[in-house]
């Protein structure tokens, strides 16, 4: 079973994203966990060990860029794919990492699932 971690400080958006992934039959059985900020997520990933991370970019405490650099310092997550969700179109320029992609908020459900499929290979 594949494991996905969703990091988003907007509670409704986070919970709805988790639910949409869980309801998508074409993804098969997936285990989805959630975090409200990147600091909490960096603690959670060590035990949860996600295959894919979906994360907001503009977050409290640690932004997407800092989160990614801290994530890549952990051997286990050196190449774990990250899909960033951002309402700012220019943040993609800040990231130089081949295992990341960006979805602009508000994003379409189909775009999100297509991105997940690209990384998890369904």
């Amino acid at each position: 079973m594949k494991k996905i971690l969703v990091i988003e400080d907007e509670t409704i958006l986070r919970k709805n994203t988790v639910r949409m992934i869980e309801l998508t039959e074409e993804l098969g059985e997936v285990l989805v966990e959630e975090s409200s900020d990147a600091r909490e997520a960096l603690h959670k990933i060590r035990s949860f060990q996600p295959d894919l991370i979906i994360s907001d970019f503009m977050m409290p405490f640690i932004n997407g860029n800092s989160f990614l650099s801290q994530l890549r310092k952990i051997e286990l997550f050196k190449s774990t794919p990250v899909i960033f969700l951002s309402a700012k179109p220019d943040v993609a320029k800040l990231i130089h990492d081949s295992n990341t992609s960006f979805l602009m908020k508000p994003f379409l459900y189909k775009e999100l699932i297509s991105n997940i499929n690209n990384y998890l290979g369904y």
């Binding site: 949409m20 409290p60 405490f61």
Partner: protein
């Protein structure tokens, strides 16, 4: 507390980022609304139509996000008017004590935790020439901040006193306070302190409150300590 004006906000730097940050802030409630619509559509397509209670909750969430967007647009338009010097106070003579009492009662009625602002004032009326709408905005902002950043703590206190040709309004809360290293930024547009992440806010209210105060030739200042609380003081001329 004295009545020195708070530090300048570095407005020219902020202006260059304003449109970019504003679009980000507007897209966020849109993303929430989109997720509600998409999830509903997915559930219906899969034959899992939510029950009435869930649908009512969804409608309530949509209305809340629409209201959030609407407030944000109002605040952005107000800031645009302030920055274009396109807004002037329309002053009229007001009994400040009675006027503040009305504002406090309205804010108390909106509170879900039943706390009520403690209003400390002299017995005599204080008459001043102010723009009523602007004073409402200033006090709504400071009172709502004092309440939302002090959940679970004693009710905030609002004191109003007159001294010569000026009156002073002090709003004291016993809440989370503002981290010391971020205090210089709090009047910047869209700035939110790092300890406010779980509390909703646009980061525009204090900028507008400060601007409206200064349009009255008044000053706003504050003292704050993290996990102890904040005291905001407004000094306004009576004429």
């Amino acid at each position: 507390m004295d009545c020195d004006t708070a530090p300048a906000s570095g407005l020219s730097d902020i202006k260059s980022n304003f449109v970019s940050i504003a679009s980000h802030e507007l897209r966020t409630p849109l993303a929430v609304m989109q997720s509600i619509a998409e999830l509903l559509e997915l559930q219906v397509k899969q034959g899992h139509t939510p029950d009435a209670a869930v649908l009512i909750q969804n409608v309530s969430q949509l209305k809340s996000e629409i209201s959030r967007m609407n407030n944000l647009i109002d605040e952005i338009l107000t800031i645009s008017k302030i920055e274009n010097a396109n807004i002037k106070p329309l002053k009229e003579k007001v009994d400040v004590i009675a006027f503040i009492q009305q504002i406090i009662e309205r804010n108390n009625a909106l509170q879900t935790d039943h706390r009520e602002i403690v209003f400390i004032h002299e017995d005599n009326p204080i008459y001043a020439h102010v723009d009523k709408q602007m004073l409402v905005h200033i006090l709504d902002n400071l009172i709502s901040n004092a309440l939302k950043y002090s959940i679970g703590k004693p009710a905030p206190e609002l004191t109003c006193r007159v001294n010569n040709n000026q009156f002073t309004i002090t709003i004291k809360d016993f809440g989370i306070g503002i981290p010391r290293h971020q205090q210089k930024n709090i009047f910047q547009t869209f700035f939110r302190a790092e300890n406010t992440a779980s509390i909703k806010g646009s980061g525009l209210g204090l900028f507008i409150a400060k601007s409206f105060t200064e349009l009255h030739n008044g000053t706003v200042s504050f003292n704050s300590a993290e996990n102890k609380g904040s005291v905001f003081t407004i000094c306004l001329p009576t004429e």
